[in-house]
Each structure stands twice: as structure tokens, then as C-alpha cells.
């Protein structure tokens, strides 16, 4: 059976949903970051599939943009987590609730 762009869309959707579930359910902040990366990569996959489907190179260029943004965001986010760890000595998201008041 040939592999249709439809299959890529399903795969991308599945990865995206797994990523969302991970963000919502996991307690460890670093794991949550990994799930965010998973979501971004799912979108990347979708973009590439569409690029092949509509014979448009612009989508692949957009993938590069997304990768750059993801990298920058990870850098900043990990720095924040390191700072928090120095205070609370834990990366459990349930303890990081200083935003309450």
C-alpha cells in the first residue's frame, strides 16, 4: 500500500495528542518540555507532508523557523528551571505554584 500524505497527517496528529497529554499529565518540568518539543516536531512533520503534497517549498522553510524558535525556547526554559531548582530543590510542577497569589 502506497504511503499517502493522509497517513502522515494521522501520524502528526497522534504525536501532537501524545504531546498534549504529556504536558497535561506529567509532573516533571523537564518531561513537560520534552512533550512540548514533541508537539513542535509533530507540527514540523505535518508541514513537510504538506510541502510534498502541494509541491510548495515554503512549508519546508517554515519548518526551519519552527526549529529555530524551539531551540531558543528550550534555552530560556531550561535556564528558568535551573533557577527554580536552586530555590526549591525540586522540578515538580505541583510545587511551583508561586503564581497563586
Amino acid at each position: 500500500m502506497p504511503i499517502l500524505p493522509l497517513h502522515y497527517m494521522f501520524l502528526s496528529l497522534t504525536l501532537f495528542c501524545i504531546g498534549i497529554m504529556g504536558v497535561l499529565i506529567r509532573r516533571n518540568a523537564i518531561i513537560i518540555f520534552m512533550c512540548v518539543e514533541l508537539m513542535l516536531n509533530a507540527v514540523n512533520l505535518l508541514m513537510v507532508a504538506f510541502s510534498k503534497m502541494y509541491v510548495d517549498a515554503g512549508a519546508q522553510v517554515f519548518v526551519f523557523f519552527i526549529m529555530v524558535v524551539a531551540a531558543a525556547e528550550v534555552a530560556v526554559g531550561l535556564a528558568v528551571i535551573v533557577m527554580m531548582y536552586r530555590k526549591v530543590h525540586s522540578v515538580d510542577v505541583n510545587i511551583l505554584n508561586r503564581l497563586k497569589h
Binding site: 510542577v93 505554584n97 503564581l99 497563586k100 497569589h101
Partner: protein, 630 residues
């Protein structure tokens, strides 16, 4: 000189401002002098204006325009004074008697710490009363009308630390207000139907243009204005404030509740004689109410033991006589009786003040007796006042009261006999008061007996002046059988004219005069014999009913005051506390509850925030791709 009429109310107003603003700093004697001089100045100007009005070259009412008071759209009401025979006569009465009472007060109130405030209030009162009689339209009259009601409240409750006195002041003001509602409705009807409140314009339009209610318009307007007079001049059913108003200082009772304020109703009806002549049904009601009040109050006065209460009920009764005169169409006669009544009633009140002063504050006549020996001047002047009010020939009261009785007889003999009964009772209770107070043996305590003395000249000289006026004041209105010329009637005729000139046979007039005089003398002798050896056993039966004023106050309390209070309590519980407070507090509670719930969103947990973000994304997705309408 008539152009200077604005000075007349101006002097008392200045007196009020000086005494009122400086009541902490001005010394007592100075306050008395300022107050009295202000009224004296007004009196001098009034006399000047009187001579000008009385001269043959005076034509028509003079209108002195001060400023435009109300000017909106089609409504134009100027602040104008009207100088004519009627207003000038009242000016003389108010400023003349007012001046004597001010002089009297300088001595009577000398030991009172609030004397400066007292003179401020008195001047304010005279100012308001002058506005009332000088106004050229009903609105300026109403300003004065309300002003005298206010000053009555201030002066009755003058010794404000006593709860009973302040209650009496509130009662007077509230009852006045009830009447004022009628007056306001009457004014609004006049404005609505005729577009103007000025006397001249209004009376000119009467009789030509029928009002909105057709033929009954005049009656309705007249009745509404009369309701105002009922409240102000203490007629049935709004009279109970006047006996309670005796809580105020005695000169106040003399000025306000004898000579001036209570006569405002009579002035108003006399001024509106053109209107009332077109409303015969209302005149009938006026006469009936006046007669009923005259008889009713006289019956109560027979069994009162407080010297001022007797005089208070006497005032209510005499006011009833004046309204009876108005009701039978004899307007000038009513004004005549206003004048003579001002003289002798002020005299009687000031005399009673002299007695109270000598008795050290005691007002119960059961504890008096034989005061004549120690207080000759007071006794003689009081006797003159009693003779005048009883209608003994030669004194002023005889001329005015007999004119009322004659006019009543010409109108309806049945009313005459009832009025005659009231006149007989007047003679009886006044002389009962005189004999119990000034003759016989003293019934009070030993200390009081030592304290008895004649009053200082500042108090006795006004008494003497008023006594002279009570004697000679009647000669301006000689009856037709004695003299062709009735000076007062011809003086007032350009402004006020009686409804119909009844010409009775000379014989009938002499008969009526003799009848009333004779019966008065009979009652005086009866009063003398009944009180030679007074016994003050507790009253039973009819006497008890009279002593307790026919329980009218208690009836009012049960029928009107208690239900109103209960209604207020109900409204307070169900509408105020549960309803309005419930809504206001409820809004507050609701906001608090809602905010408590919404506060839960701020859990501080990052996971929850991300979850909400995802929810938002899903919603956006649904809207964009499936067109779910918001």
C-alpha cells in the same frame, strides 16, 4: 412713601440677621433694643403709608415691583408688594402690636439665657408675616405663610430642652403643613386654570373665563385655599396644635397665636373675597366650620384650669367667630374683629404673662386668687380685656362681635342663636378666669404669696396701651343705627366689600345688640356667683369630658397616629429591612460569592494553566473549522 414699602419687611430682616448671627456675642439688653427698634421703624413707615392710603387722593392698589422671581416659559411670577387699604391695615396691626410685645419681651425674657435667639426669631416672624400681607400674588403670600409656620415651630419649642415642648412644636408644624397642602393645591389650580397668581390679574379673569372644572372650579379652588386657612388659623379639625402651643413663652403666644399668625387665614380669605363671592357653597362650609369651632372651643374653655389654655381655647373660639363672619359674606366685619381681637387678646395674654411672672412660673388658676390686691395695673387691664372680649357695650369687642352677630342673623337666624350661645359662653369662661385669678383669697403656697409683686414698667406700659386700644379701637366701626359712617368699612371698600349689604330694621338691630349685651351681663353675674367660693372637686360626667377637651387628642391618636405608626413599622420591617436593604446587601453578597468562586481559577498550578490554554485552543479550533457560532 408707598414706594418705600420694601423698608417695612427689611428692618425686621436686618434685626433678625444681627441678632441671629451674633447670638453668642451680643449682650441681652442690646438684643432687645435692636429687635424692638426694628419693629418700631417698620411701624413708623407703616403709619406714613397709612396716611397716604387713607387720603382721598389715593387711587387703587399700588404695586411695588422688587424683582422677577420666577420666569420660565409662559410662567411669570414677580416678587411684588401690593399697597392698598387691606394690607396697610394689617401692617399697622402687625407692627404696632408687635412693637408692644417686643418691649414687653425685653423685661419678660430678661432672665433667659437664649434671649438673643428669641429676639432673632421674633424678628424673623414679623418679617415673614409682613411678607404674607404685603405680597401681590399668592406665591409671595405663601412664602410668608410658610415662614410664619417655621417661626411658630422655632418659638413654641424655644425651651428646647423640654421634650413636651418640642413635641408641641412638631405638632404645630405638622398640622400647619397638612393645611398647606390644600393651599398649594389651590394655588396650582389657580395657575393651571388662569395662568397667573397675581391678585389683580386673577380677580380680573374671574367671572369671565370658566375654569377647567366648569361651574365648580371656583368652589374647588376656594375649598382648597380654605383648607390652608383651617390649618393656619386653627379651625376644626386642625386646631389641636394651638392649645399645645402654649408651651412657648407667653409673649410668643400673644404675638403669634393671638394677634397675627392665626389671622393669616382670615386675611387670605378677605383678600380673595372676589373668588369666595363666586363660590357660595364654600362660604356655607366656612360659616359652618367657623360656628362649630366657636361653640366647641368655648365649651372646652369653660373647664380649663391653666390660665393660658383658657386663653388658647378662647382664641380658637374667636377665630371661629371670624370665619363665621367670612362665611356669611361680611368680610370687612371679620377684618374688624381681627383688629379688635388683636388688641384685647394680646392684652389678655400679656396680662397672663404678668401673672405667671409674679407667681414664679405657676399657671394653674386653682392655686391663684386675690392677686388683684398686689397687682393693680395687671388686674385693671385684664378686666378691660375681659370686658372687651365679652362684648360689653362701649368696649371694642362689642362693636365687632355685634356686627358679626347682626350679619349672621340677617343671613340665617338659626346660626345666630348658636353664635349667641357661643358668645354667652365666652363671657362666662373669661370672667370665671378673671374672678378665680384676681379676686377672692389666695390659694397658693406661702412662698408664692411673698413673691407676688406688680411687674416692671416695661411689662405694664404695653398692657396699658393695649387696654386703651381695647376700649377705643371699636369706634372705627359704629353700627348703622348709631352712625351713618362706618369708618372701617368705607376705608376697606375699594379692596374688600361685603357680599351683600343687609339692611335690617333699626328696631331689630337695637334688639340684637341689647340681647347679646344683656345675656353677657347675665353670664358675668353667673360666673361671679359660681366662683365666689370655688370648689375644685374632681370633675365627673360632662365636666370631665370638657376638662379633657372632649378627648379629641386621644381620638386623633387612636384613629390617625397609631395606624400611621403601625404602617410605618410594617414598611420598615418588610420594605426597608428585607426589601431595600436586602437588595443592596444582596448585591454585595452576590459579588463576594462570585468572586470567591472565580478566585479558584488562580490556583497557581502551572499544569492547570496549561490545561486551560489547551481548552482555549480547542474552542478556537472548533470555531474556525466547524463554524460554531459564538
Amino acid at each position: 412713601m408707598t414706594q418705600l414699602v420694601y423698608l417695612i419687611p427689611l428692618f425686621p430682616l436686618i434685626g433678625f440677621l444681627i441678632n441671629g448671627l451674633g447670638w453668642r456675642t451680643i449682650p441681652k439688653t442690646a438684643a432687645g433694643v435692636i429687635g424692638s427698634l426694628a419693629i418700631l421703624a417698620s411701624f413708623v413707615v407703616s403709619v406714613g403709608i397709612f396716611f397716604e392710603v387713607n387720603s382721598p387722593s389715593f387711587h387703587g392698589p399700588v404695586l411695588v415691583h422688587l424683582f422677577d422671581f420666577i420666569q420660565t416659559g409662559k410662567l411669570y411670577i414677580p416678587f411684588t408688594f401690593q399697597v392698598d387699604a387691606l394690607s396697610t391695615l394689617f401692617l399697622l396691626i402687625i407692627t404696632g402690636v408687635g412693637f408692644l410685645i417686643h418691649v414687653y419681651s425685653t423685661s419678660y425674657m430678661h432672665h433667659d439665657e437664649g434671649m438673643v435667639k428669641y429676639f432673632a426669631f421674633l424678628n424673623l416672624f414679623v418679617f415673614s408675616m409682613l411678607l404674607l400681607v404685603l405680597g401681590a400674588n399668592y406665591l409671595v403670600m405663601f412664602i410668608g405663610w410658610e415662614g410664619v409656620g417655621l417661626c411658630s415651630y422655632l418659638l413654641i419649642g424655644f425651651w428646647f430642652k423640654n421634650r413636651d415642648y418640642t413635641n408641641a412644636a412638631k405638632k404645630a408644624f405638622v398640622m400647619n403643613r397638612i393645611g398647606d397642602l390644600g393651599f398649594l393645591v389651590g394655588m396650582m389650580m389657580i395657575l393651571f386654570n388662569y395662568g397667573t397668581l397675581s391678585y389683580g390679574e386673577f380677580f380680573g379673569k374671574l367671572g369671565t373665563t370658566p375654569g377647567a372644572l366648569g361651574d365648580n372650579t371656583y368652589n374647588w379652588i376656594a375649598i382648597c385655599l380654605f383648607i390652608g386657612a383651617i390649618g393656619k388659623s386653627a379651625q376644626i379639625p386642625l386646631y389641636t396644635w394651638l392649645p399645645d402651643a402654649m408651651a412657648g413663652p407667653t409673649p410668643v403666644s400673644a404675638l403669634i397665636h393671638a394677634a397675627t399668625m392665626v389671622t393669616a387665614g382670615i386675611y387670605m380669605i378677605a383678600r380673595s373675597s372676589v373668588l369666595y363671592n363666586l363660590a357660595p357653597f364654600t362660604l356655607h362650609i366656612v360659616a359652618i366650620i367657623g360656628l362649630a369651632t366657636a361653640i366647641f372651643a368655648a365649651t372646652v374653655a369653660i373647664k380649663q384650669y391653666d390660665i393660658k389654655k383658657v386663653l388658647a381655647y378662647s382664641t380658637v373660639s374667636q377665630l371661629g367667630f371670624m370665619f363665621l363672619a367670612l362665611g356669611v359674606g361680611a368680610y370687612t366685619t371679620a377684618v374688624f374683629h381681627v383688629m379688635t381681637h388683636a388688641f384685647f387678646k394680646a392684652l389678655l395674654f400679656l396680662g397672663s404673662g404678668s401673672v405667671i411672672h409674679a407667681m414664679g412660673g405657676e399657671q394653674d388658676i386653682r392655686l391663684m386668687g386675690g392677686l388683684g390686691k398686689k397687682m393693680r395695673v395687671t388686674q385693671i387691664t385684664f378686666l378691660i380685656g375681659c370686658l372687651a372680649i365679652s362684648g360689653i357695650p362701649g368696649f371694642s369687642g362689642f362693636f365687632s362681635k355685634d356686627e358679626i352677630l347682626a350679619a349672621t342673623y340677617a343671613h340665617d337666624p338659626i346660626l345666630y342663636y348658636m353664635a349667641l350661645a357661643a358668645a354667652m359662653m365666652t363671657a362666662f369662661y373669661m370672667f370665671r378666669l378673671y374672678f378665680l385669678t384676681f379676686t377672692g383669697t389666695f390659694r397658693g403656697t406661702h412662698d408664692q404669696e411673698h413673691h407676688l409683686h406688680e411687674s416692671p414698667s416695661a411689662m405694664t406700659i404695653p398692657l396699658i396701651v393695649l387696654a386703651i386700644l381695647s376700649v377705643v379701637g371699636g369706634y372705627v366701626g359704629l353700627p348703622a343705627v348709631i352712625s351713618e359712617h362706618h369708618a372701617l368699612a368705607s376705608y376697606l371698600s375699594p379692596v374688600v366689600s361685603n357680599a351683600s349689604e343687609h339692611h335690617m330694621a333699626a328696631g331689630t338691630e337695637w334688639l340684637l345688640m341689647g340681647l347679646s349685651s344683656g345675656l353677657s351681663v347675665v353670664m358675668i353675674i353667673y360666673a361671679f356667683t359660681a366662683n365666689k367660693v370655688p370648689s375644685f372637686a374632681p370633675n365627673t360626667g360632662l365636666a370631665k369630658l370638657l376638662e379633657n377637651k372632649w378627648y379629641v387628642d386621644e381620638i386623633y391618636d387612636a384613629i390617625i397616629v397609631r395606624p400611621l405608626a403601625a404602617l410605618s413599622g410594617l414598611l420598615d420591617k418588610f420594605v426597608e429591612k428585607s426589601g431595600i436593604d436586602g437588595i443592596v446587601n444582596g448585591v454585595g453578597k452576590g459579588v463576594r460569592y462570585g468572586s470567591d468562586r472565580i478566585r479558584m481559577l488562580q490556583s497557581g498550578q502551572v499544569g492547570f494553566y496549561i490545561f486551560v490554554m489547551v481548552l482555549g485552543m480547542v474552542a478556537l479550533f472548533a470555531i474556525t473549522f466547524f463554524g460554531v457560532k459564538l
